[in-house]
C-alpha cells in the first residue's frame, strides 16, 4: 500500500509538472493575483483549479492591485514602502519598483496603460506617473485619505474618492485640475462607472450606502440602501462594486455584513445577498466574467461566486488579510 500511495502521489506530481510545462509553453490559463496586506505577498491562484501557483514576496503592506491593459504585468501598491511592485505575469517575479510618494493605497491606469494614477492615502494627493519611465507627471491635491480611483472610458476624467473628506473628486486629465467635488455618505471607498458611462457609483463604507452620481451634472441622483434581516445596520459597509458587462447586474461587497449584494442598476433594488467569507472588500470578475472573486479580509480566503446562478461556489485560502484581486486572462 505505501508504495502504491507513493506512486500515486509522484504520478500526480509528474502530471502537474507536465501540466505546468504545457501552460508555460502555450501560455497558462487565467490567473488570480491576490494582495495579502499583512503578509507582504501576492498569492497567485490558477483560474481553473484555484490552486496556489506562486506566493510572490512584495514590499510592505500590499493593497491596491490591478493588471496592465496589455496583461504583461500586475501592479501592486506597497503602502508602507511608498512604491508600486511591478510583477511580470510570465515569470511571476517582481521585476521593477516604481516610486509613488507616501502611502499609495490604490491605483488605476490610463486607457493606453501609459500613465498610472495613484492615491496617496497619507498625503491627500493623486500622483500621476509615466509608466515607462517612472517619472511623476503631476500631483493633484484632493481630500483627506484618497482611496478608490475610476477612469472614464473617454479618458478625460479620473475620479478619486477621499475617505475622510467623504467626497468624490472629478479630475480633468488635460489640465489636472479638480473640476467637481461631490459630497457622498461617510467614508467612501470605491468609485466605478456604469458600463454605459451614464453614472458613477460610489460606495460609502461607514455611511452604509452607494451613491449614484450623474457624472455630467455632478449630482447624486440616487442613494442605494441595504437592509439584511438579522444583521445590525452598522455592520453594513459597502466597498467593492462590479457590474456585469451588459450593465444589468451590480455586485456590491458589504464588509462586516459578510455578504455581497446583488443590485438591479435599473431599479436600484437589492435582489439578493450572497453570504461569503468575513469582511469582503474588493471584487473582481474572471476574464470571461462568468465568475466573481471576492477577497475576504478576516477569513483569509477568496470566495468564488458563479455569476449566472448568483451563488457562492467555493472559497479558497490565500494569505493573511487579502485586500484586492487582479485577474490576468
Amino acid at each position: 500500500m505505501p508504495s502504491r500511495a507513493m506512486t500515486g502521489r509522484s504520478g500526480a506530481l509528474l502530471a502537474l509538472a507536465v501540466l505546468l510545462c504545457s501552460f508555460a509553453a502555450s501560455g497558462r490559463a487565467s490567473e488570480l493575483f491576490v494582495s495579502n496586506e499583512v503578509d507582504d505577498t501576492v498569492t497567485v491562484l490558477d483560474g481553473d483549479s484555484y490552486k496556489v501557483i506562486a506566493t510572490i514576496p512584495t514590499d510592505q503592506r500590499p493593497r491596491g492591485i490591478i493588471e496592465t491593459p496589455d496583461h504583461k504585468a500586475v501592479l501592486v501598491c506597497d503602502g508602507d514602502s511608498n512604491n508600486i511592485d511591478v510583477i511580470d505575469t510570465k515569470t511571476l517575479k517582481v521585476i521593477r519598483r516604481i516610486d509613488t510618494g507616501p502611502d499609495p493605497e490604490t491605483l488605476a491606469t490610463s486607457l493606453s496603460g501609459d500613465e498610472l494614477y495613484v492615491s496617496n492615502e497619507n498625503n491627500a494627493l493623486v500622483t500621476v506617473i509615466n509608466y515607462a519611465t517612472g517619472k511623476w507627471i503631476t500631483q493633484v491635491p484632493v481630500g483627506i485619505e484618497p482611496e478608490g480611483l475610476a477612469v472614464s472610458r473617454d479618458g478625460r476624467t479620473v475620479v478619486v474618492v477621499s475617505e475622510e473628506t467623504s467626497m468624490a473628486h472629478f479630475i480633468d486629465t488635460k489640465s489636472w485640475q479638480v473640476v467637481a467635488n461631490v459630497l457622498v455618505d461617510t467614508r467612501p471607498r470605491v468609485a466605478v462607472y456604469t458600463p454605459d458611462q451614464r453614472y458613477l457609483w460610489v460606495s460609502s463604507e461607514v455611511g452604509g450606502t452607494v451613491s449614484v452620481i450623474d457624472p455630467r451634472s455632478h449630482q447624486v441622483v440616487h442613494v442605494i440602501n441595504f437592509q439584511i434581516p438579522g444583521v445590525d445596520k452598522q455592520y453594513i459597509g459597502p466597498i467593492g462594486i462590479q457590474f456585469t458587462a451588459d450593465g444589468r447586474t451590480a455586485f456590491v461587497a458589504l464588509g462586516r455584513a459578510n455578504r455581497v449584494a446583488v443590485v438591479d442598476p435599473g431599479s436600484y433594488e437589492v435582489e439578493k445577498y450572497i453570504l461569503v467569507g468575513q469582511r469582503p472588500w474588493q471584487l473582481t470578475f474572471s476574464a470571461d466574467r462568468s465568475r466573481l472573486y471576492v477577497a475576504n479580509g478576516l477569513t483569509n480566503d477568496v470566495t468564488i461566486i458563479d455569476v449566472s446562478s448568483e451563488k457562492a461556489v467555493k472559497s479558497v485560502p490565500v494569505g493573511r488579510l487579502p485586500w484586492g484581486i487582479a485577474v490576468v486572462p
Partner: protein
Amino acid sequence: MLALAGMSNSFVAAAAAGPAAARSFPIVYLREAYPGPGIMPSLLETNPDDLGLAGAEEGTSEINTTGKFLGVHFKLYVVTLQAGADVAAQARKVFAPGPAVIVADLDADDLLKLADAPAARHALILDIRTIEDSLRQRDCRANVFHILPSQAMRTDALAQFLVEKRWSRWFLLQGPTAQDAVYAADVRRSAARYGARVVAAKSYDYNPGSRRSDTGYQQIQTQMPLATQIGSDYDVLFVADETDLFGDYLPYNTFDARPVVGTQGLVATAWTPAFQSYSALQMQNRFQQFAHRQMTERDYGGWLAVNIVGDAVMRGRQTSPAGIRAYLRSDGFLVAGFKGEGLTFRTWDQQLRQPVLIAQPLMVVSMSPQAGFLHPDNTTDTLGFDRPETQCRLAQ
C-alpha cells in the same frame, strides 16, 4: 482671557462676500487651566498642555479640507478660563454674541455650571472630557452631548471581554474616591448583566506620598501583595482607581498570579495611540505630524466633536446650534470614528454610541461589544445605560 473679538456665533458670510466666498462657522473650544494631576506614577505618562485641543485643531483643519470644496470655513476659537474661574459668569461672555457651538474640555462640575447658565440654554455643548455616569443619568442636560464612553460603558466593555474569555470570577479592589465608588458599582452592575461574579471585594486607601524615590519599587513590592492577599480564588483583579493613585502598581505585584483589569492594566477606552484598525493608522499618522506627540483619548474626543459639527453643517446643512442639536438626535446623523461602524447619539441621554477598545499599554487586545452579545435594536447598546435603564429625563 476671552479672545472672541470678531466672532459672531451665527453662520456668517465672509466680509467680502462674493459668489465664491466661504461662509464662516465658529466653534468655541472652552477649557479651564486646571491644576495638573501632579507627578504621575510612571515616567512614561505625560500630561501635554494641549490635550484635547490638539485633536480639535487637527479636526478643524480636516473639516476645512471638506469645507474648502463646499465653500464653508470653520474657525476654532480657543477660550481658556483661569483655574477656579466662575464658569457661569464666564459663560455669559462666551454666549454674548448668541448661542454657540462649544467643545467643552471641562470637568463634571464646570460642565454642569456651563450647561445650566441661562445664556447656554440654546447652545450646543459637546463634552469631550467627562466619563462620569451621573452626567448621563440624573444630571443629564438637553444642551449637552457626551463624546467619550461613560464609566458604565467601560465596565460593560471589559465585562463582555472577560466573560468571552471565561474569566468570570472577579476580585474588586476599590480606591478611596467617590468616582472609584461609582466605578465599583458599575463593575458589580456589569457582573450581574453578563453573568460574572464579584467573588471578593476590598477597599484600598493608598496614600501615594512622594511618587518619585530611588528605591520606591521595594516598598510597592511589599505593599501591593499585602493589599491583594485575600485568601479566596479569583480569575482577574478588577481595579477601581479613577485618579491613578495605585492601579498601575498592581500588575505583577498581586499576591496571586492574576491579570489586572479596570481603570489600569487592561483598560476600556475610546482611543489609544496603539490603535491602527479601521483607518486609525492614518489618523495616528496625521495627528503625530500635526502635534508631534501621540494621540490620546481626549484628543480623539476633540477631533470627533469637531467632525460632528462639520458633518452637521456640511452634510446635514444645519446653520444654528439648535438645528445641529436636532440633527444630531435624528436618524440622518452618523459620524465615522475609526470603529468600523458609524457612530450615533443615544437619544435618551445624548451619549455617543460607540464600540470601545480593550487595550493594554502597548497593544489593543480587543474591541467590544464582543461577538455573541445580542441586543434587539443595536448591538452597541449592550454597552452602558440602555433606554429602559436610563434615569435621564431630558427637558426638550
